[in-house]
């Protein structure tokens, strides 16, 4: 029982540590903003195609 529990906590710790490592790398190397900066031009191109009722 205690071994199962120990294994569970080890797995939980490994998973949390893995999650921390991945998110910290994304955070520190600004990978989130680097990715979204690549997406922006696609959106801008899309907005040009939307029909709009422009008038003053």
């Amino acid at each position: 029982m205690s071994k199962t529990l120990l294994r569970f906590f080890l797995k939980l710790f490994a998973a949390l540590f893995g999650l921390f490592a991945v998110t910290f790398v994304i955070y520190f190397f600004n990978l989130d903003m680097k990715a979204t900066s690549l997406i922006e031009p696609i959106f801008l191109k899309h907005y040009e195609k939307i029909p709009r009722k422009q008038y003053v």
Binding site: Y27, F28, N30, M33, K34, T36, I39, L44, Q54
Partner: protein
């Protein structure tokens, strides 16, 4: 007097290495283990806010419908701009305030999309909404607890520009294609462009606009109101605050206008003005005023704690957009003050040296660039406070009595007249020039950074008087020209160069961190 930081700053000292030629930075700042981990947890918090927003299908739909939504791809980048070089309490204060503002804006977008006729189209919700001018004090909504004030220009134009310096350029082009001149303030011009481009959410039972601060906003409001009323059938009320707001003989007229605005909202929403809710809000307005004064007193010491663009931005949001209606601000105010008190007790500094104590005055673009934090890290100039944060300090009536119910209209009018910008750019010589020197004295400032907005006519006539009086008082006056949210007229580096030029030629000083004197951020968000 130069104040040196007794503690060596943990982590990075040469901030220039973080900048790249692209839209975003190379990486985030290393602030030592403790502060980097803190900054990381706040990043995770912001990710969670955005994730909660994105899981709603109508919000994804909104992302594809509205051009201004693409600016929110840069939220984290915007946050990084305001935390550059910060450690300890100043870092925590900036995150606490700015994270709250971001959560508030996210909620505002969510509300806009919920009621928007093109997206959520929740009619019952939309019928409980009043479109409220971005530059309006929301005082006239303090007694409507069941009606939502939707400041749709905030997420569409103002907040978008915090994150992306190019957020308005498309809309400025649209406005100018339709013959609006390019020499008016780009802020109302961009808002007019958004309306012409049909890129505003459409919701609400009625709308209230104010004669904000200038000819540009009157022009923009006219165009927006025309579309709201004639195309979308949303009746619009014009709340007209007197310009000479310190004069006693205008107060009766101003109070009368507030009465009419309230009657207009009652008529269109079917809701009745609730005095209990009003006086509860009034207590919170007074609480926020007291806390703001205390923060300013801390900034008058040798160890200012809560300053920079975020101080201004938080004050704008709390004072004008919230105006006592949301109880959550009370908790945040309390937390911010506790952090600032701890910071001043521990003599925390945000840079390795404070060389000059500066008041930032004039029509300011400091939201879209990291100028104030740059001044601090590059030249050791502490931005103690700014013009937009120097708003009402008078307490309003907060007990529900028959006399105070009458006084309340005058209080709401007073707040409306003293909205940010208007309380300084209008109201006469005293509020703009004389009081600046009083603030310099109170806050022991030896320098004033004067933002000169080249498309704004509000301050132009006072230029000579500022120069003459600053010279007489021995205050260093640094003029820095800009064109608010149009970076094509003045780039970020062109703005910084003006300040650096003064520091080198007049002050004969060398930068604290030479690596950030010239930054390759022209194309950055």
């Amino acid at each position: 007097m130069v104040i040196k930081n007794p503690v060596e700053k943990a982590g990075e000292h040469t901030l220039g290495v973080l900048y790249s030629n692209g839209k975003v930075r190379r990486r985030r700042e290393w602030r030592g283990i403790r502060d980097t981990l803190y900054d990381y947890t706040r990043w995770l918090y912001l990710v969670s806010i955005l994730a909660r927003f994105v899981v709603k299908p109508r919000n994804v739909k909104g992302m594809f419908r509205y051009r201004w939504m693409s600016n929110y791809l840069a939220v984290m980048h915007g946050m990084d701009k305001f935390t550059i070089g910060l450690r300890d309490e100043p870092l925590r204060i900036t995150h606490t305030a700015m994270n709250f503002v971001i959560a508030d804006v996210t909620k505002a977008i969510d509300d806009c999309f919920r009621g928007d006729r093109r997206l959520g189209n929740d009619r019952a919700f939309s019928d409980r909404c009043v479109l409220t001018d971005e530059n309006a004090m929301t005082a006239f909504m303090m007694g409507f607890p069941n009606v939502k004030a939707i400041l749709r220009e905030v997420p569409t134009m103002f907040a978008a520009n915090i994150f992306n310096q190019n957020s308005t350029t498309h809309y400025l082009d649209v406005a100018q294609e339709f013959g609006i001149p390019g020499d008016v303030c780009p802020m109302p011009e961009a808002e007019a462009g958004i309306s012409i481009d049909d890129d505003f959410c459409v919701l609400g039972r009625c709308a209230v606009q104010v004669n904000t601060t200038c000819d540009g906003s009157l022009m923009g409001n006219g165009l927006i109101a025309k579309r709201l009323e004639r195309e979308y059938g949303i009746p619009t009320f014009q709340l007209v605050a007197p310009m000479r707001h310190r004069e006693e003989d205008v107060q009766e007229y101003a109070a009368e206008d507030i009465r009419k605005a309230i009657a207009f909202v009652e008529e269109h929403t079917g809701q009745k003005w609730d005095w209990t809710a009003y006086f509860e809000s009034a207590k919170r307005v007074n609480d926020a005023t007291r806390k703001r004064i205390e923060q300013l007193e801390i900034n008058s010491t040798d160890y200012p704690q809560f300053f920079g663009s975020v101080f201004s931005l938080y004050n704008d949001t709390n004072y004008m957009g919230n105006c006592g209606r949301n109880a959550d601000f009370v908790k945040i105010d309390k937390k911010l003050l506790a952090l600032a008190e701890k910071g001043v007790k521990n003599k925390r500094m945000a840079a390795k040296e404070y060389r000059h104590r500066c008041i930032v005055w004039g029509v300011q673009p400091q939201y879209c660039i990291d100028m104030l934090y740059w001044m601090l890290q590059c030249w050791g100039v502490v931005p103690l406070t700014d013009m937009l944060s120097m708003v009402n300090t008078r307490m309003i009536a907060e007990e529900d009595t028959p006399e105070n119910r009458e006084q309340a209209y005058y209080d709401m009018a007073w707040l409306n007249e003293n909205m940010i910008m208007r309380n300084r750019t209008h109201g006469g010589y005293k509020v703009l020039v004389d009081e600046l020197w009083e603030f310099c004295e109170k806050m022991h400032a030896d320098m004033v950074m004067m933002w000169e907005h080249m498309s704004c006519k509000a301050l132009t006539g006072m230029h000579g008087q500022f120069e003459e009086q600053a010279r007489a008082k021995g205050i260093h006056l640094v003029w820095v020209s800009h064109d608010l949210c149009d970076p094509r007229v003045f780039s970020r580096q062109a703005i910084r160069d003006q300040f650096s030029s003064y520091m080198r030629t007049v002050m004969r000083e060398e930068p604290l961190d030479p690596s950030i004197e010239v930054l390759p951020d022209n194309d950055a968000w």
